[in-house]
């Protein structure tokens, strides 16, 4: 029902200043046309995808690396697991505020960088176009790498030991075991991690909002912020509904592609097992 209502509203020209939506004139597909020719919307789409790609790539790499270091039974493993998972448990609002304090131009991060480089580092993390985009990515990586780490630790721990043992008996090196045995077996897990994180990263709102309010300019204005601004800042509910449906179509494409990849991986895995 809400979805059908969204479709209907997207075909109106409803601004909140008109009162209730029943008072809004019919607009047909004009909102969709407006969105597709709106630079702000198109850049928000591009920005969000670039952000998601960067953040998810780093989260996968770091999460995977940490998982490889800690998945085997060892002393202190529980401690590592607990510590690595903490960021994920913190409410994003708190993380946002924490990072906004860390990233102040005269704050701890620049101080640490100054000590490390021996120079007075004054990166404007929240007020420079590029730096602000990097800052949002860094904050997201810090908070969500634990999730990919958790997925990979579970995946690595659940791998069947026989193929690995067999490879070692046949004289394979650690790298060869990883490259030709563990990694292929882990592919479905990797796809799951990518899908889960990508879907979340594409919806990001809280971090850029808290750190930069989408600024400077609109350097960190993600799709969610763009839609929120149009709906609740500019009262353009119909326009926001149309834009969100376009986003839904776009995201659906990504989801279907991911599911198709996952199915293909499963099929290949079944073949290997057979």
């Amino acid at each position: 029902m809400p979805f059908l209502l969204t479709i209907y509203i997207s075909l109106l020209r409803w601004r909140l200043t008109l009162g209730f939506w029943t008072a809004a004139p019919w607009g047909g597909f004009t909102n969709f046309a407006d969105a597709l020719t709106d630079e702000g919307f198109l850049y928000a789409v591009l920005r969000t995808f670039v952000f998601a790609a960067c953040a998810v790539a780093f989260e996968l790499l770091i999460g995977f690396g940490l998982a490889l270091l800690t998945y085997r039974e060892s002393r202190g493993r529980r401690f590592y697991l607990t510590v690595f998972l903490i960021p994920m448990m913190i409410i994003p609002v708190v993380v946002g505020y924490d990072f906004s304090m860390l990233l102040v131009d005269t704050g701890p991060l620049n101080s640490v960088l100054s000590v490390l480089t021996g120079q007075d580092v004054r990166i404007r993390w929240m007020s420079d176009y590029r730096a602000a985009q990097v800052a949002v990515v860094i904050a997201d990586i810090w908070q969500w790498t634990p999730l990919t780490f958790l997925i990979f630790v579970s995946g690595l721990s659940a791998l069947p030991p026989e193929p690995i043992k067999a490879a070692r008996v046949m004289g394979a090196t650690r790298w060869q075991v990883f490259r030709h045995v563990q990694l292929p077996l882990l592919k479905p897990v990797i796809v799951i991690a990518v899908v889960i994180r990508a879907m979340e990263a594409l919806k990001i709102f809280d971090m850029p909002m808290l750190l930069t309010q989408g600024g400077p300019g609109n350097a960190t204005e993600t799709l969610s912020i763009f839609l929120w601004r149009n709906a609740w800042g500019f009262n353009k509910i119909s326009y926001a509904a149309a834009a969100s449906l376009l986003v839904l179509a776009l995201f659906s494409g990504v989801i279907f592609l991911s599911i198709w990849l996952l199915k293909r991986e499963r099929a290949q895995l079944e073949e290997v097992r057979a």
Partner: protein, 490 residues
């Protein structure tokens, strides 16, 4: 026959006057009439107590309650508050326009929210109540008074003049060597600037690096020449005041934007140019960062809200207490005449919800709280953020004690020349387009010309989307009311 006619007319006239008098609530002052009006309303309802709810800006959580308690004691009307950050409130009000919950009786926000609130039908006109309560607005400067109305109807009361101000460091201006050197370089004594260009000259002179000998004074820290808002959500507000000083309207009579003309480009260019005398961090700063930076003695000048003066005087860690000179905002030379315009970037206001059960009771509180006596008390409140704007406030010793004589004189001058931020429906969208393009220009990513061209193009689209005819009508009423004085271009 003639006698009978005259007698009839007299009878009618007397009757009309009697009716009018019967409609006016008794009371010698604005506040008394408000209290009596509220009591009469309760009597009419047949109750002794009444509960109302106000959606309130969280900034006033400390100061507002004492007045609410006082009002309750006087009338029996208790006003509960639900607090939100001021950035959240517009969405909450607009949501109420759709949901029609009746949860709120009073909305407390800022002046620029009015057009959207009125157009959505969530607030009611107050003219009929005002006709009975006789509030006193005559002493409020005309352009600020205009902001209380939309399309000729009264909708909101306020007791907070947020008209912008320029503050300079008096201790630096008073350095004898600096004065002499400045005069030698620019041919005039340093002090409050008349024009934006003069402010930039001051900023270019009064800055230096830590450890440097600045005209006989060793700088203990870097000194920046100027501070003015350059971050998202702020910079565009100051732009509007500067632009208005070019004596140009933002739209013509067909709602075609005029901001991409020479005046708009020059305004942007001036702002971009001044940025080089500011700390680089300014691009990410709102008020919570700008105020302490100035109070800690890091800069020579700041254009901001008027509360900076009191803040610099009393804030924890301030090193500029007693060293701040308040200035009337600089202006522009238009055809040889100096035009100064401050802008009203906020201005705490109060509106009555259409969906509350007791709009009349809500109205009486508005009249009481913003009246000349209680309003002045609020302005003088050490916990409050209500700033002076009524000329009579220069004679109120409580207010003078809080702000100082020099500041009071200056802020009243700024109140007289205050202009509103685009007082039209959809103004937040107009603001955002300007905001984003200004940001691009401040960061040097596009030229001032491009920034203004893009903004004008987007403004056209917004006008078209809202409805040009509707906007033309609203703009006409703004211009005809003299909200932008004698600005050209209509």
């Amino acid at each position: 026959m003639l006698k009978r006619g005259v007698a009839g007319a007299i009878v009618l006239l007397v009757a009309a006057v009697g009716v009018a008098q019967a409609q006016t609530v008794p009371g010698a002052t604005v506040e008394e009439r408000a209290v009596n009006g509220a009591k009469a309303y309760l009597k009419k309802l047949g109750v002794e107590k009444l509960d109302l709810t106000m959606m309130m800006v969280s900034l006033f959580a400390k100061a507002q309650p004492k007045y609410l308690h006082e009002w309750e004691k006087l009338t029996g009307i208790r006003i509960k508050t639900i607090e939100y950050g001021y950035t959240e409130i517009p969405a909450k009000i607009m949501a109420d326009a759709v949901a029609k919950t009746g949860q709120y009786d009073i909305y407390n926000h800022q002046m620029y929210m009015l057009p959207d609130a009125v157009e959505s039908g969530v607030v009611i006109p107050l003219d009929d109540y005002a006709a009975r309560g006789k509030p006193y607005f005559d002493d409020i400067p005309k352009t600020l008074r205009n902001e209380m109305s939309y399309k000729g109807k009264l909708y909101t009361f306020f007791t907070d003049g947020d008209q912008t101000i320029l503050a300079l460091r008096k201790d630096l201006l008073d350095l004898p060597q600096a004065r002499a050197a400045f005069k030698a370089k620019f041919g005039r004594e340093p002090g409050c600037p008349d024009t934006w260009k003069q402010w930039e000259e001051l900023a270019s002179f009064f800055n230096g690096k830590k450890g440097e000998n600045f005209h006989g004074m060793t700088l203990e820290k870097d000194l920046y020449g100027a501070q003015e808002y350059r971050s998202r959500e702020f910079g565009y507000r100051w732009w509007q005041g500067r632009f208005s000083s070019k004596n140009k309207l933002m739209f013509d009579r067909t709602m075609k934007p005029l901001i991409d003309g020479p005046e708009g480009i020059e305004t942007t260019r001036e702002m971009v140019s001044l940025t080089k005398y500011m700390p680089q961090d300014i691009f990410g700063w709102g008020t919570p960062q700008n105020y302490p930076f100035f109070a800690q003695g890091n800069s020579f000048s700041i254009a901001t809200f008027p509360s900076i003066v009191g803040y610099a005087q009393k804030a924890q860690g301030t090193v500029v207490s007693g060293k701040v000179l308040s200035c009337v905002v600089p202006g522009s030379l238009v055809k040889g005449k100096l035009v100064r315009r401050s802008v009203q970037p906020a201005g705490t206001n109060y509106m009555v919800s259409k969906y509350g059960k007791h709009p009349e009771a809500a109205y009486w509180f508005l009249q009481w709280f913003t009246g000349p006596e209680v309003g002045n008390r609020a302005v003088s409140d050490p916990d409050g953020f209500w700033d002076p704007f009524r000329p009579g406030q220069v004679n109120d010793q409580r207010i003078v004690a809080k702000y100082g004589e020099q500041y009071m004189k200056v802020t009243m001058e700024n109140a007289k020349i205050a202009v509103p931020m685009v007082p039209l429906q959809g103004n937040r969208e107009y603001f955002d387009a300007l905001d984003v393009n200004l940001q691009e220009a401040f960061h040097g990513r596009i030229t001032p010309e491009d920034a203004m061209k893009r903004t004008a193009r987007q403004w056209e689209k917004i006008t078209e989307d809202i409805g040009r005819k509707k906007q033309i009508e609203a703009w006409k009423s703004v211009v005809q009311a003299g909200s932008y004085f004698d600005a050209q271009g209509y």
